[in-house]
Amino acid sequence: DVKVTQSSRYLVKRTGEKVFLECVQDMDHENMFWYRQDPGLGLRLIYFSYDVKMKEKGDIPEGYSVSREKKERFSLILESASTNQTSMYLCASSIGYREAGYTFGSGTRLTVV
């Protein structure tokens, strides 16, 4: 069974900390995505990557960066965590053709205090 694995289910971090959220997929997918999910706002795209060492800004990239050094791993970085970054973070991957859905991880619920 194909999988997208997020390293942590729950995280609590302090304001100003640097936070790393890790995501690994075992499907050899070209594309990987980071979303945040907030009540009433649905899924909002933070960053995505179409290939190793490539990254593109999504709709809400401010306060975030990403790293994709290997095809299977896509990391989301909060350089200096703030309370408004408290959210559910979802990683997804997809094969690289147009009519392809995304496979999601189980999510990381991050609380910044």
Partner: protein, 109 residues
């Protein structure tokens, strides 16, 4: 701009009844649509998809209907079961997926 929205934020149905979840989209250039189900504490799971050159697609107990004239997408669940209780998202795709806010489906036993 692109947007995908849902008419009803919460839908309650009796176990055994059919459920219909609706979605409106605004980008007529979208050529691929997906329905996802998200259970509590889990990531969204793929349910069914449909290409823009189709009007209807059926899966196991689920049917997706696409009306391009009015830019409307619906998900029909037959004989709704308690395990169907979840949040359902529609998503449209041109270059990447754009998600709606979600509809909560509650199944009453």
């Amino acid at each position: 701009g692109e947007s995908v929205g849902l008419h009803l934020p919460t839908l309650s149905v009796q176990e055994g009844d059919n459920s219909i979840i609706n979605c409106a989209y605004s980008n007529s250039a979208s050529d691929y649509f997906i329905w996802y189900k998200q259970e509590s504490g889990k990531g969204p799971q793929f349910i069914i998809d449909i290409r823009s050159n189709m009007d209807k697609r059926q899966g196991q107990r689920v049917t997706v209907l696409l009306n391009k004239t009015v830019k409307h997408l619906s998900l029909q669940i037959a004989a709704t079961q308690p395990g169907d209780s979840a949040v359902y998202f529609c998503a449209e795709k041109r270059n990447k997926l754009v998600f709606g806010a979600g509809t909560i489906l509650r199944v009453k036993s």
